[in-house]
């Protein structure tokens, strides 16, 4: 036997309705500030019997009740719960919060957990109301209206009405529930009393189409009844027009799935041969690679390159760009994120730095040929970013096949190796780039190779003064290149 039933409480608080949060808040404030403990209050709902002003103590002058900022919002949500003891529970929580202001941050406390569980139940019920309300249309033209009957677990109609206003602004609609109703006439929202199922229309022609959709979108080969019921518990089924199909769909699923598997593959449909002939004529083989007489033909041939495995993760081959009669070829390391997407070399952040410095040095980028030692982007994915990885010697070697052909077609006077990978590709051996920077190495075939750093090196320097100094050095290198181009 609970002592509460003897009603020994000193105070009886009568709330105006199940959702009278303002009334609760006012009473709770007065009582807490007068040091009335939870055991001395009896909470109830008495519709229409307003609290008499003298029933509750007044707030002592100058007294203030301080509660954590999020408590009111959270209490308001939990207030919609159908548990009749919620008024007393929330008061007890308030009572504790005066002394334990951090209580709500302690997720392991039983009262905090209960508050969370109540909020969660209300939020879930609200979410299910958004999902499972089914309108039925009545009337046509100016008389067109949409009416729904719904049975929520908690007192959530008031709280959810605005969702339906936002969504169905251009419609006139009414949602009826046992506790309350909401009505939107296209301009104004009105909350009214509860209703009965019989007050809502009992059918709508469009439901036949909806049921057809439900039946056909279901895949009998993957029956997962538990997963369905977890999210759409049976208690909602009686108001869902599609739910009466569920038992027969489940019963027939196994047979339907077995039939699908048992049916032997059939002959191709009659129209298939015609479709194939019209849309997919046998294609001519790709042009022979060694036939390429221009860089555009070479670029075309490189699209399908499989000489190393880097094509697998990249978007596309990023081939060199520039005129076939260029006097100089700049060779970088490999395309980066932006180059990989666009299919063009040196257009990302490092390419922009490179362009600006070439411009400062008086070199016209339109007149030079720019390419990379490796023509696919090598990277490690990290979430939504791609972290550049250095190509290995094997990949550089594989891609020399293309570099050699680019050089053979263009026959430049000078090559510029931007960084170690480019130098490795052009010279066939690793060299210390920072030490040999600014030098010209003549290859056995007579090609002069100018050594410098990769412009991305400048981007990686954080100290502004150092960055500026490095930029100046690179500009100096490019001026040297310009001078060499003239010889």
């Amino acid at each position: 036997m609970q002592p509460a039933e003897l009603n020994l409480a000193r105070y009886n608080v009568r709330l105006d309705s199940e959702t009278d949060f303002a009334g609760w808040r006012d009473a709770a404030r007065r009582l807490a500030l007068n040091e009335v403990g939870p055991d001395d209050i009896n909470w109830s709902v008495a519709i229409g019997s307003e609290q008499r002003p003298g029933d509750l103590p007044a707030v002592p002058s100058g007294a203030q009740l301080v509660v954590p900022r999020d408590f009111i919002g959270r209490a308001e949500t939990a207030f919609c719960h159908s548990d009749p003891s919620r008024f007393a529970f929330l008061y007890r929580l308030l009572w504790r919060l005066r002394i334990e202001p951090k209580l709500l941050a302690i997720a392991s406390d039983p009262d905090t957990r209960r508050l969370e569980a109540m909020e969660k139940a209300v939020r879930r019920d609200s979410h299910k109301m958004h999902a499972f309300v089914r309108f039925r249309k009545i009337g046509d033209g100016d008389d067109e209206r949409y009416v729904a009957w719904f049975e929520p677990d908690h007192f959530i109609v008031e709280r959810n009405a605005d969702f339906f206003v936002r969504r169905f602004t251009g419609m006139r609609w009414t949602i009826l529930t046992p506790h309350a109703s909401a009505d939107w006439d296209g301009e104004r929202l009105a909350i009214g009393p509860g209703a009965a199922k019989g007050d809502a229309p009992d059918q709508d022609d469009t439901e036949a189409l909806w049921r057809t959709y439900f039946e056909n979108i279901f895949n009998p080969a993957r029956l997962k009844v538990k997963a369905m019921q977890k999210e759409m518990p049976k208690k909602y089924w009686r108001n869902l027009p599609e739910a009466s199909l569920i038992p027969e769909l489940i019963a027939g699923a196994d047979k339907a799935a077995k039939e699908m598997i048992a049916r032997m593959p059939t002959e191709p449909a009659p129209h298939h041969a015609k479709v194939q002939a019209k849309h997919w004529p046998k294609q001519d083989a790709l042009p022979e690679l060694d036939d390429a007489t221009t860089t555009s033909e070479l670029r075309e041939a490189a699209k399908g390159c499989r000489r190393c495995p880097l094509w697998r993760d990249a978007t596309q081959t990023v081939f060199g760009e520039g005129p076939d009669n260029a006097k100089v070829i700049f060779v970088g390391e490999q395309p980066g994120d932006q180059e990989d997407l666009a299919g063009k070399p040196f257009i990302g952040p490092a390419g922009k730095v490179f362009d600006a410095i070439l411009d400062d040095a008086g070199v016209d980028r339109q007149k030079v040929y720019v390419t990379n030692a490796v023509k696919h982007f090598k990277f490690e994915p990290r979430g939504k970013r791609r972290i550049h990885s250095k190509p290995n010697a094997g990949e550089v070697q594989a891609c020399r096949w293309w570099i050699d052909r680019e050089f053979a077609l263009i026959k430049p006077d000078l090559a510029v190796a931007l960084g170690a990978t480019a130098a490795l590709s052009l010279l066939g051996k690793a060299i210390p780039v920072t030490k040999m920077r600014g030098q010209v190495i003549e290859r056995e075939d007579g090609l002069r190779v100018f050594i410098t750093i990769h412009p991305s090196f400048i981007l990686r320097i954080h100290e502004p003064a150092d960055k500026e100094a490095e930029r100046a050095r690179f500009l100096h290198d490019m001026k040297q290149v310009k001078a060499l181009m003239a010889t």
Partner: protein, 411 residues
């Protein structure tokens, strides 16, 4: 033959669409109809309006414009050699069906896909027209997801992005070899390029324009894709590798995994056995580890013998059992990254632990109250008054955990 009714067409064209797993109506920008006086809203979180007995949610009206198709992809029920019944909706019919369903609160919006008829541009053009009519003529603000045909023109894609919340292009299979074998007319190279172009377009439109200083609308819900699991022999490690590549390269919002499902009038190029549905579930869990738990793709299956996810236990537990040297983790001291790697601790629970421990030291019982069950995590954590001792390194730990989790599910 009689003229098919709307109901006949709906039956055929929804049956044809069910193999696309995506039904998400989330991830787009919030909007409602209060200003336009029209119909429809997007609330941030997606809403599942119903569930089919296959456990999949029904959020969008997921249909094909037509299931006539010039492609012959052997895993697809609509391939040109299939004897399936064919139908075709008109633009009017799709618009009316969408609005009729939406007004009755059956759906969050439309997911429109199509077989390719005549040419990619012609088909894409009609799909874009449906979206345009919904937005401009019906003042519809609900969710629109358009399947993009990789070969369609840039202008059509631009328009599609203007009206749709999400665009998607399916990679279909985890490897290019798989695509070439099972979908001989599809070009994996073109699919990659189309995804790259979508990412570029989204980034371009995310910048305010110079003139109006406003951002132009372009598929605010981003792009997604789907991979069929079990139609070829790619291992889970290979599948996850492809996913990581797609997330990194094209900034996809989601990669959907669809366990290969036997289809009527199946092609002989396909396996006769379907993969266990659990495999699909484990792949989603592993995908979550990459996106929300700080795991890099290679470490998820590093040290496993066959590159396959354990079907009996979740991928994080399997990883922890292979990497016991990193445990136990002190629940009262470890940083967020380390806590996220503890089996049984989800992102929300970790957040709660971090706030709670600022005010009190947590005991094992406290952790038990915050999360659902401690069966999985006991061997991996240190709490006030609790150390797992030799439990962490015990032989047979996997079996012990599996058994205690099973017993829990009996009650």
């Amino acid at each position: 033959m009689s003229v098919p009714t709307i109901r006949d067409k709906l039956a055929i064209l929804s049956d044809a669409a069910k193999y696309d797993a995506s039904c998400a109506s989330s991830g787009s920008t919030k909007k409602d109809s209060k200003k336009t006086g029209g119909i429809g809203s997007i609330e941030g979180m997606g809403i599942c309006h119903s569930y089919a007995p296959d456990g999949r949610c029904i959020s969008l009206l997921k249909i094909l414009l037509t299931n006539f198709c010039i492609y012959d992809c052997s895993y697809c029920i609509n391939r040109s050699s299939s004897n399936v019944r064919r139908a075709r909706f008109s633009v009017d019919e799709v618009v009316k069906l969408t609005m009729d369903f939406y007004r009755r609160n059956y759906i969050e919006g439309l997911f429109l896909s199509s077989g390719v008829i005549r040419s990619p541009d012609e088909t894409m053009g009609e799909m874009v027209e449906v979206a345009r009519r919904l937005r401009l003529e019906e003042k519809f603000s609900g969710y629109i997801h358009l399947k993009t045909i990789p070969e369609s023109s840039a202008e059509l894609v631009e328009k599609a992005g203007l009206y749709a919340d999400r665009l998607s292009i399916n990679v279909e299979l985890p490897t290019d070899e798989g695509v070439k074998r099972l979908a001989p007319e599809k070009k994996p190279e073109t699919i990659r390029l189309s995804m790259a172009k979508l990412r570029q377009k989204m980034e371009e439109k995310a910048e305010p324009t110079l003139r109006t200083k406003k951002r132009e609308r372009f598929a605010p819900g981003g792009q997604s894709t789907q991979m069929i699991v079990g139609a070829d022999k790619t291992s889970d490690d290979g599948i996850l590798h492809t996913s990581a590549r797609l997330y990194g390269s094209y900034h996809l919002r989601r990669v959907y995994y669809s366990a290969f499902s036997p289809i009527p009038d199946s092609s002989s190029a396909l396996p006769l056995q379907k993969p266990p549905l659990m495999r699909e579930h484990r792949l989603y869990q592993a995908d979550w580890l990459m996106r929300f738990y700080g795991f890099s793709q290679p470490e998820i299956l590093a040290g496993s013998s066959d590159g396959m996810l354990d079907l009996a236990i979740d991928p994080k537990l399997a990883w922890a059992l292979r990497n016991r040297g990193q445990f136990p983790v002190d629940i009262n001291r470890a940083d967020r990254e380390a806590l996220l790697r503890v089996p049984g601790l989800g992102t929300k629970v970790v957040a709660k632990i971090l706030t709670t421990r600022r005010h009190k030291r947590l005991r094992l019982e406290d952790v038990g109250r915050i999360c659902q069950s401690i069966a999985k995590l006991r061997p991996f954590i240190i709490a006030e008054g609790w150390t797992p001792g030799t439990l962490t390194d015990k032989a047979g730990l996997r079996e012990t955990i599996v058994r205690s989790c099973e017993q829990l599910s009996l009650f």
